[in-house]
């Protein structure tokens, strides 16, 4: 039950949605699947005066472009993404990431654009505030970050929990962003600001329209793992996504892209771990070394009751396993060629 009134407008096209956002100003929010925004509104973490609904905008299924890259409409529901034959065949990593999100119902409602643009989370921030008094933390307009009271009062340490974002970062996706002045393109990493207060770099009247993934090179392999307690319907403890490309000899790594989710205010790359892998022969010792470096540089924030020590150990182990997964897939593909 949402306890405050708000207006509701439907946009028929993406351009109209942006025009409405520009007219309504800061107090309006876009509504796609609603699985992140509506719980936040129910907890009064977001209190927009108007919702601009995107349900009326036609959403085209994922399609291959002339240059071989794949364009995914931001309004594509995660369940449709998971089931799309094109995605299953060409980007199985993205299908796995979509399948890892929430529950069956959440995936039938939530969109890929909404998953990227979700709010960051923190146990203190996301507790119920309507029937109990908890002093508002910095993100709710208070004076202090209560979960980390000894930290500076202008830093919000909430965590970005998207499962799809790390996979798209490992795949080096690019975004099409529609604003009042027209369309601009951005790399997916530029979408995230790294601040818990405003996790996205989108302007007030901008809309994420589509995600494009370039064609995969030869001899590449992927690995994806979301650590959870129950195995479904929960936010990840950590999310590891890896894309490896091998040299023609099948042993040396040509390029590695590692992305970690649910660790910090934004999904992270692991530059040190990547540089340890690139150009070197991938033996088990090297993978372990890279995973240890990746866990150390991620420096995860404690979230959802997991301690930093626990999350670091988790990353060390699952990043290594994800790297092994990616390596064996890259070798399999080479064998198939």
């Amino acid at each position: 039950m949402i306890l405050f009134d708000f207006g509701y407008e439907r946009a028929a096209t993406a351009e109209e949605a942006v025009a409405r956002l520009a007219r309504l100003g800061d107090d309006a929010r876009l509504l796609a699947g609603g699985t992140d925004l509506l719980p936040n509104m129910r907890a009064e973490l977001a209190m927009p005066a108007t919702l601009v609904s995107l349900e009326g905008i036609a959403c085209e299924p994922p399609r291959a472009l002339a240059d071989g890259s794949i364009r995914i409409d931001a309004l594509t529901r995660l369940a449709d993404l998971e089931r799309a034959p094109l995605i299953a065949e060409r980007l199985p990593m993205l299908a796995a990431a979509a399948r890892a999100v929430g529950s069956h119902q959440i995936r039938e409602m939530g969109t890929i654009g909404g998953n990227l643009c979700q709010e960051t989370r923190c146990l203190y921030l996301n507790q119920r505030h309507d029937y109990q008094f908890a002093p508002p933390c910095f993100k709710r307009g208070g004076e202090c970050c209560y979960p980390f009271p000894r930290n500076k009062s202008d830093v919000c340490w909430s965590v970005h929990m998207s499962d799809v974002a790390p996979a798209l970062i490992a795949l080096d996706a690019s975004l099409e962003i529609l604003g009042a002045g027209g369309t601009r393109r951005a790399g997916i990493e530029d979408l995230f600001s790294g601040s818990g207060l405003r996790p996205l770099t989108l302007g007030p009247a901008e809309l994420l329209r589509s995600v494009t993934v370039a064609p995969r090179p030869a001899r590449w392999g992927w690995g994806f793992h979301k650590s959870t307690v129950r195995g479904g319907l929960e936010y990840g403890m950590s999310v590891c996504a890896v894309a490896l490309r091998l040299e023609p000899d099948g042993r040396t790594c040509a390029e590695a892209r590692i992305a970690l989710g649910a660790v910090r205010e934004r999904p992270l790359r692991s530059p040190k771990a990547e540089s340890l892998l690139a150009g070197s022969v991938l033996d088990p010792a090297r993978l372990t070394q890279a995973a240890t470096a990746g866990a150390a540089e991620a420096n995860p924030l404690p979230h959802h009751g997991f301690t930093k020590r626990h999350l670091s150990d988790n990353l060390k182990i699952y990043l290594r396993r994800t790297l092994e997964q990616a390596l064996s897939r890259a070798r399999e593909e080479e064998g198939a060629c």
Binding site: G7, M47, A49, S53, G102, Q105
Partner: protein, 173 residues
């Protein structure tokens, strides 16, 4: 995002909108404010109380209904967003007094204890069987992951879905 101006908010009178819903095959017109969720509309305005509202934050799945064939949690769906859509609730599964095969299987396999999660379970399972008539155990587990049950331990429910899809397992007597 987190700012709110109480005066501006009090001045805002969001008008009700008329929404046409096809609930279990019958068209209904209801007037709802934008803040009314689909589960509130179904229970309070349409009067079908089979659909349960529990966590109201998309966690428990008790409010699952089929919206144009998709299983959705109706507590996170705004009723105004469902204009012209088809809603199927647990009441729509029966044919008069006759229970559907899935409901019969739930009874037979002891998949119902307190019964609060059952309407949501039935709707999720119905959506699964419409998409995949012969699901295996793992597929059923994945499809029902968004429906929490605190009584049965889930095995009875999964057995019932397997039985309803014609893949009966011998019952332990």
């Amino acid at each position: 995002m987190l700012r709110s101006d109480p005066q501006a908010r009090a001045a805002l009178k969001a008008p009700a909108q008329v929404v046409s819903l096809r609930v279990n095959g019958e068209w209904r017109e209801i007037a709802v404010k934008p803040r009314v969720t689909l589960v509130e509309a179904i229970r309070d305005l349409v009067g079908l109380t089979g659909t349960k509202a529990s966590c109201e934050s998309g966690t428990c799945g008790a409010c699952t209904v089929l919206l144009d064939g998709r299983p959705v949690v109706s507590c996170l769906t705004l009723a105004v967003a469902c204009d012209g859509m088809e809603v199927r609730t647990v009441e729509g599964l029966t044919d008069g007094e006759k229970l559907s095969a899935l409901q019969e299987a739930f009874l037979e396999y002891g998949a119902v204890q307190c019964g609060f999660c059952t309407p949501g379970m039935l709707m999720s399972a119905t959506a699964l069987l419409e998409r995949d008539p012969k699901p295996d155990r793992e597929t059923i587990n994945k499809a029902l992951e968004g429906n929490l049950c605190r009584c049965t331990g889930y095995n009875g429910i999964v057995d019932a879905v397997l039985a309803a899809s014609g893949q009966t397992r011998p019952r332990k007597e």
